[in-house]
């Protein structure tokens, strides 16, 4: 285990850029910490934190200069591995279908937290693995008010799948770096660093461990897969439907929601046609459209579909939960619907009806 200082982090970014990577990392823009292409380590959000609550997200200045001490922002890494809109193919009058060219520039993700690293693994499971980005994870030492990764088993320590993992230490500001793969070791080679001392490692470990107890949210301690599978007739769906605007924000910010529609377009002459794929939401009425009408028209049925898929039928389809506990769906819900609260209400309703039975 080794130690990078703050300049070392800039070196790491520079050397990734020099080896032809598109480096994606957190940066401050539009009053939020967004994920964007970095041209240098100085763009990282030194000293910025966030205050989050249901339906609310505000940046705040921190008293320290921590880079990774902010919980999930409005974007996830999904947009870089599963773009919001992409061309699939085009065809001209010759009738041949030509696949769209893909940008093959290698990606490097800097500062991926455990929840989001798990989400990348889940997306790979759903969509098939594309070219793997270099992942520099960040163990979480400062969970936010909407976080519940420890309930979902995805954090605060980043799980498997990273090439390098950083743990941020303050006073003095430095990063414990651990190597996950030979690819990560190669990326680290040109970067100035020193060996970690025992107390530094211990301090890093204890900060990550203590983060477990500082989650703002917690999922009810029940088998969520069974709970949701058996709750299709719950009264709670009508209750949440009174509040849900079916806007689909939760699905857009969710790091694992993957649903797409295709769109076929032509130019005015009809000579040139293209197919595009874009993100859609199961909250849209058209999502389940069949001739004769949509399958899911009521808000209750659409919310039920989303939550049941996320927490239960995802296991049947893809072998894991679809929720990683990042809390984005709570923060960006305009009416502050809280997935942990809804799950708890369903669990309470279930245990109530079990007790009556």
């Amino acid at each position: 285990m080794e130690i990078l200082d703050r300049d070392g982090l800039n070196h790491l970014v520079d050397s990734l850029l020099a080896t032809g990577h598109r480096v994606i990392g957190p940066t401050v823009r539009d009053s939020a910490i967004v994920l964007d292409e970095l041209s240098g380590g100085a763009q990282l959000p030194d000293g910025w934190g966030v205050e989050v609550a249901p339906g609310s997200y505000r940046l705040r200045r921190r008293e320290d200069m921590a880079v990774f001490a902010h919980s999930a922002g409005p974007q996830s890494w999904k947009q870089f591995v599963h773009p919001a809109r992409r061309k699939l193919w085009q065809t001209d009058r010759d009738g041949e279908y030509v696949p769209a060219e893909e940008d093959r520039t290698p990606l490097a993700f800097l500062g991926v937290r455990g929840c989001d690293l798990a989400a990348l693994g889940i997306l790979g499971q759903v969509l098939g693995d594309g070219p793997r980005p270099l992942v520099i994870a960040a163990n979480c030492t400062e969970p936010g008010g909407l976080c519940f990764c420890s309930s979902m088993g995805t954090g605060p320590a980043a799980g498997p799948g990273y090439d390098l993992v950083l743990t941020e230490l303050l006073d003095p500001h430095r990063f414990l770096v651990e190597v996950g793969t030979p690819r990560g070791a190669r990326a680290l080679l040109p970067v100035p660093r020193r060996s970690a001392r025992g107390p530094e490692v211990a301090s890093a470990r204890s900060q990550v461990a203590s983060a477990t107890g500082r989650m703002g949210r917690v999922m009810p301690e029940v088998d969520l897969r069974t709970l949701l599978r058996d709750s299709s007739a719950a009264q709670r769906w009508n209750d949440v439907a009174q509040r849900c605007l079916t806007c689909g924000n939760c699905t857009m910010v969710c790091p694992t929601c993957f649903c797409t529609s295709t769109e076929d377009v032509t130019d005015l002459t009809g000579q040139h046609a293209e197919r595009w794929q874009h993100w859609v939401s199961c909250f849209e009425i058209d999502f389940s459209h069949l001739h004769g009408g949509s399958v899911r028209t009521s808000a209750a049925s659409r919310y039920r579909q989303w939550l049941t898929h996320k927490l239960s039928s995802w296991y049947d389809q893809f072998g894991s939960s679809g929720c990683v506990g990042c809390g984005r769906c709570i923060g960006w819900c305009p009416v502050g619907i809280d997935i942990t609260e809804e799950a708890a209400a369903l669990a309470a309703e279930r245990s109530g009806s079990d007790a009556r039975a």
Binding site: L88, W89, T91, G95, E96, Y97, P99, V126, L127, G128, R229, S232, A233, F258, C259, T260, S261, T262, D264, V265, T266, G270, A273, R275, C282, F287, S288, H289, L290, H291, G292, V295, R296, T297, S298, A300, S301, Q305, T308, H309, S312, S313, D316, Q317
Partner: protein, 276 residues
């Protein structure tokens, strides 16, 4: 064959036969490359240039191996309207095959009961043709077909030929008879209550509107046929065919991947949940 399942292959319409007022059977031949062979029950995604793409079950005789595809399409939306109107010579994009098949061979040595409602006969036609082609493998072959009116029956000439055969039983029923109608009158579920069935050795294949399949399955359960002996073909919004777009979910199932042909034992309970 194309390596990319998202990329259509061009096929040309070589024959166009109207079945009813709103339904057409198209025969497609590959322009160059062919998609892999389909099994009865599977579907392709058909793309009409500039209009869009929809899933359509295969309805042809699948023992014909000249690379052609036969699809029966009913006009219900923009793409199906464009397909129905496509004249001979039109180039259509084809992807597939997708989904599960009827798995007729597993019904070997049982009675084969085929129940079709309306356009539901289209995906079942390859089952009947395959059973007739290897008639000795199966015991009785019973086909029950329901339609709104006699004019809504598909494959009319073929149905008449099948009805004349000694080695299969054909029951036709319509909701609204017209003059000269000599078949049954009533829903397709009704013959299921009086047909002579051997519940211990019958495999049922159902296709039609979802309520029709639910009622048929209930009628068959009442006759002592086990849920596991009933197969049905489901319809959902499908855009990719690969279990990746999310539209076709039915509870735990991705219908394009786990279906369209599913076992009633696996979906019976799901189909009773409204708006699932």
């Amino acid at each position: 064959m194309s390596g990319d399942p998202l990329l259509p292959l061009p096929y040309v319409v070589t024959d166009r036969a109207p079945e009813t007022d709103d339904t057409v059977t198209l025969r497609l031949k590959p322009v160059r490359l062919t998609i892999p062979r389909l099994r009865p029950g599977q579907f392709t995604m058909l793309y009409v240039r500039g209009v869009g793409e929809i899933p359509i079950s295969i309805s042809g005789n699948l023992s014909v191996v000249d690379g052609s595809l036969t699809h029966t399409v009913r006009e219900v939306g923009a793409v199906s309207r464009a397909l129905c109107a496509a004249p001979v010579g039109t180039v259509i994009g084809v992807r597939g095959p997708f989904g599960t098949g009827w798995d007729l061979p597993s019904a070997c040595d049982t009675d084969v009961l085929v129940v079709a409602g309306g356009l539901g006969l289209a995906p079942l036609r390859p089952v009947v043709l395959a059973a007739l082609a290897q008639r000795w493998r199966y015991r009785r072959l019973i086909l029950v077909v329901g339609a709104r009116t006699p004019d809504d029956l598909l494959y009319r000439r073929e149905l008449d030929e099948w009805a004349r055969r000694e080695d299969m039983a054909v029951v036709l029923t319509v909701d609204r008879p017209t003059q000269g109608w000599r078949g049954q009158v009533g829903f397709v579920t009704e013959p299921l209550s009086w047909l002579a069935l051997d519940p211990s050795a019958t495999t049922a294949f159902l296709c039609g509107p979802e309520p029709m399949m639910r009622f048929c399955a209930s009628a068959l359960l009442r006759r002592g046929i086990l849920a596991g002996q009933i197969r049905l073909s489901l319809e959902r919004n499908m855009q990719c065919g690969l279990g990746q777009c999310g539209h076709c979910q039915l509870g735990p199932l991705l219908v394009c991947w786990d279906g369209p042909v599913v076992n009633y034992a696996a979906v019976g309970a799901l189909l009773t949940i409204k708006e699932l």
